[in-house]
């Protein structure tokens, strides 16, 4: 993972931790005051009277500032008489928190509210940290993309045709004469499997759609002259295909067979043989075409070359 990316993750985590710490501090202070209020409210009436008015007012204003008041008034925390008294515009201004609310219920309410508030703020922090727009520009979302139904059909058809061609003994013999390890080639070709874009997992697949890849190295390669011109290429032990693989034009060798021969060409690379080994990429195409399709045709007859 690039250092810049690791830095972004660390920054996101630091912001989250800071927010959670702030929240926990707030909850701790609030719970402490609530506990003190509860402790005092549960003592005798005389002790309650001795509670300093300033502190009570402070607590009351804090409670009013949050959703606590609304929450308390909408839950059966008070005796009906107290609720009536509270609702009455005139009359004696006695603190309902001090005198009427049952201590244990207030503590329970404080805990519930704390949990609700904590969840809300955590969700907010998470949403900000993993904002989709930011994630799309920073994080590698889909390094090995799959194919839509149409393209997947083309790749699977090419794989089926290629497997048929490689079963032919003349094809195997000619490839071996050109210096290719046919056992390795058949094995490498047989292992090829294209990823459908409907499957969220990349496991078990090794043919991907390079056009949509967010892999930094693939993107970097696609910016080079070689990458821009490629219809497909080997990336590690995977085959990455580009638009040109699917945009076949009229040629002497049909689209499906051309694609099958191109995949055999790439599978030869998977066995460790480069284009230079054969004297160039076009020469390797000629080897594959002459061995597995027809000696009358050559590299320029492929439907996916030169478009």
């Amino acid at each position: 993972m690039p250092a810049a990316l690791r830095g972004s993750f660390a920054a996101c985590r630091a912001i989250q931790l800071e927010r959670v710490a702030q929240l926990l501090g707030y909850i701790q202070r609030w719970s402490l005051r609530a506990s003190r209020a509860v402790q005092k409210s549960s003592t005798s009436r005389a002790a309650l009277r001795s509670l300093r008015r300033v502190e009570a007012e402070q607590l009351k204003s804090e409670v009013h500032a949050t959703l606590v008041e609304w929450f308390l008034l909408n839950l059966p925390l008070m005796k009906p008489v107290a609720a009536k008294e509270r609702a009455r515009p005139s009359g004696p201004s006695r603190s309902y928190l001090k005198t009427r609310v049952r201590g244990s219920r207030l503590l329970a309410a404080a805990h519930i509210l704390a949990i609700v508030e904590l969840s809300r703020r955590l969700h907010q922090a998470y949403a900000q940290a993993y904002d989709k727009q930011a994630a799309d520009s920073v994080l590698p979302q889909n390094p090995f993309p799959g194919f839509d139904k149409g393209k997947l059909g083309d790749v699977n058809k090419a794989l089926a045709e290629g497997a048929k061609l490689l079963q032919n003994s003349d094809c195997q013999k000619a490839l071996a004469q050109a210096g290719i390890n046919v056992t390795d080639l058949i094995k490498a070709f047989g292992n090829l499997k294209a990823r459908p874009d409907s499957d969220p997992s990349t496991k078990g697949y090794n043919i991907f759609y390079a056009e949509k890849s967010t892999d930094p190295q693939v993107q970097q390669f696609l910016q080079t002259e070689s990458g821009k011109g490629a219809g497909g290429f080997i990336y590690g032990q995977d085959v990455m295909l580009r638009k040109a693989f699917f945009n076949a034009h009229a040629a002497r060798i049909g689209a499906d067979i051309s694609r099958a021969l191109a995949l055999i060409h790439e599978a030869v690379h998977l066995t460790g043989k480069s284009d230079a080994f054969f004297g160039g990429s076009a020469k390797l195409n000629d080897v594959v075409i002459h061995a597995c399709w027809s000696k009358l045709y050559g590299h320029k007859d492929l439907a996916i070359v030169g478009n």
């Binding site: 070689s226 490629a230 290429f233 590690g236 480069s274 990429s281 070359v305």
Partner: protein
Amino acid sequence: MRSMTTTRLVGMTACCILLLASAAFADDPPYGNVKLLDGYKYKRSHTFDTINGLIYKDGGLRIEFESGISEGYAVDPKEKKNYNWFRQQEINGHTVFLALTQSGVGTKWEPEKPRGPKPRRILMVTFPGKFGPMNAANFYAEVLDDKEVADMLLMVLTFDPSK
């Protein structure tokens, strides 16, 4: 006064059209900013997994170029024994392998249009790439004399593999 302005406008438009037309009909710019010597031309092409080019002089030297992620090294330092001459150099921060060999001995490459009898003298230059062990850019040419060797090296060594 008015007619002069019109004449100027027409002139400028004609110049613009001529410039655009000349750009459209010009030769392809070489891959990797290769600087061509006088009298040489460049043609681009590609295969399924490589980009290709041809630096050529009518009736003279023809240098074939190929670059790709699975290209492999035309000049392999492990194959020194098969080359008449081998050199490794660092040019502008990029490693370059150079070798002079005979066709069928140090390489399987054969020119598209052979100009001399077998065995042919083949000059090859390899620029290793950074996208995997087989990523490289290779230049091949059948060279008939020392002048062609010099021409090839003067052009090919201006290649920038980072492009």
